[in-house]
Amino acid sequence: MIVEFSKAVALLLALCFVQSVIGLRWQNDELLGKTLSGILFGVICVIGMMAPIEVTPGVIFDARSVVVSMSGLFGGPITGGIAAVIAAGYRLWLGGGGTAVGVWVVVSCLLFGLAYRYCHLRGWLKVGLFQLLAFGLAIHAFEAYFLFRFLPDDVVQRVLENVSLPLVLTFTPATALLGMLLHSIELQVTTGKALVDSEQRFKDIAESASDWFWEMDRDLRFKYVSHRFHELFGYEDKQVIGKTREGLGGASDKDEGWREHLEDLQERRPFREFEYSIVRTDGQTRHLLINGQPVFGLDNSFLGYRGTGTDITERKLAEEKLTKARDELEQRVEERTAELKAAQSKLLRQERLAALGQLTGTVAHELRNPLGTIDASTEAIARQIRDTDVDLATPLDRIQRNVRRCDIIITELLDFARARGVEPESTQLDSWLTAVLNETRIPQGAVVHCNLGAGDTVLSFDRDRFRRAVLNLMENASEAITSKYADARGGEIQVATCIEGGRAKIEITDNGTGISDDALPEIFEPLFSTKTFGVGLGLPTVRQIMEAHSGDVEIVSNAQNHTTKAMLWLPLRNPGSISESE
């Protein structure tokens, strides 16, 4: 009896082996797999029935209850159905007194198996050793009940004596054993399938991603790079595999990024966003960004690294562009700010000067009448005492001289006050300048050299205002000469004109005292004067006049060489001149 049961168990093990092969081989063709499984289960039942325990002729016991119930539980309706049809068919073909019960056993076991499967899929029942034991017991108890109920009494008696105990004792654990085996096969197949899926998924991602994947061995040499890397950089597998990253990327010890990276590798640390560059096979330099994770074996031994890589060249270029644009913008903002500040301070200065000019203009004008009164009254006194013996000649002379001085100051103030607002007229520069120089009082003994080279250039300027500018410079030159040469002998003033860089230039050079380096930066400041007599508006007035003409004035001086050169610049066509010259 034991030998027969062992045969049955061996059969079950064979079933398990073939079932696992089917599960793995036809995992993707579910219907074919299930059909084949069904046939397998069916065939096993048939083999079992070929060598049964025969109680009486026509009443056989075999493992069909176990196999069919398990085919229902693990194979589902298709597998179970096919197995049941084969088993029942064979049993019918065998015939005998137990045929009806035998077929019924097949059907009921299938229903039991399917019911368990249903409960398992719904999560109501687990598949475990105890559950399977209980299941086996239930089936075979139910089967036994049927035997008693439907077999003839003498057969029941024999069954009870010879079969019932071994049936329950062996088929119940056999059910559990087969169940456990099939369950583990099912798990294996599912896990294997998941593994294959996962591998495929990884492969698909690796090949379709815009980034690439790489793996390094324990010597930090590439052992795998995904196809994307080759696409991006043109290298073939044999040019990469077995190489180190620093070998490919041209690492340099001086590069701090590389140093840190190599240190990370040495310490087997994970690293993120390490940037480096490689030269593509077409010679172009590309920037790469990589992340990596060390890989360790079960025994904690270091196996290498793996990670991802991204081509960040475009991003890098865009960043560089952006940085450059930002720098340029900043520079431009700075420049504009400086320009604006300069313009603002110029405006402030002009506003201040305008206010100052208005005030001084009014005051100066109002002073003229009292001054005239003093002058006339002094003259009246002088006339009246002329023929008497009262001697007031010196004090009266002093009064009159100082009236003249006041008048000069007032003239200077008024000139400064109305320096803005010019009324340009087209004027031939050289001939006009010659006329102005002829009117100019030059210290006796001094010489004026003229070198007028502007030819018949016609400029547009306010003759009256420009005359004032030239006269102020000539007066300064004369004073510089008289304060150096007692009788002005040896003093020279050179006046030159020329056209230079789109502008006309008038140069007035003297060999007088020169201007000290300390004083030079201040000479255009209003109310700055080195003279004992003067308000300090001469040069500021010149500058105002030149600015009003969109021109410029520049003074260079060398106190050691005793030369001062004043230059007036006028644009060949200033904005106010166009309509008039045309």
Binding site: R368, P370, G372, D375, E379, L414, D464
Partner: protein, 119 residues
């Protein structure tokens, strides 16, 4: 002593007008003073002055308009305008345009004296 002339001074500054008048009187001239434009014009029209000194800036009408009004009646009236501003080209042009002399304040007394002698 030059020959006495009859002179009109029109200036709204009484001190200046008076001091000029005093000075000219010392030379024996007969000087009449007015302090406003309209008064100056009517005086100029009524009398035959050898010279009229008229300030450009007057409280009622300006010196140039005075000249125009006077010239309507006496086209050849000898008028000298006095201006407190520097003799800039605007004043100068206006004066040239109206054929009138211009002197800048404070009046150069030597120049004035020469001008009177020329009459």
């Amino acid at each position: 002593m030059m020959h006495p002339l009859s002179i009109l001074i029109v200036d709204d500054d009484p001190d200046l007008a008076a001091s000029l008048a005093d000075l000219l009187a010392l030379d024996g001239h007969e000087v009449h003073v007015e302090f406003a434009g309209e008064a100056g014009i009517s005086s100029a029209v009524q009398h035959d002055y050898d010279l009229m000194l008229v300030d450009v800036v007057l409280p009622d009408i300006n010196g140039f308009d005075c000249v125009a009004e006077i010239r309507k009646v006496k086209p050849d009236a000898p008028i000298v305008l006095m201006t407190g501003f520097s003799a800039n080209h605007l004043n100068q042009e206006a004066a040239d345009h109206r054929d009138v002399e211009i002197m800048k304040k404070p009046i150069d007394l030597g120049a004035l004296s020469r001008r009177l002698k020329a009459i």
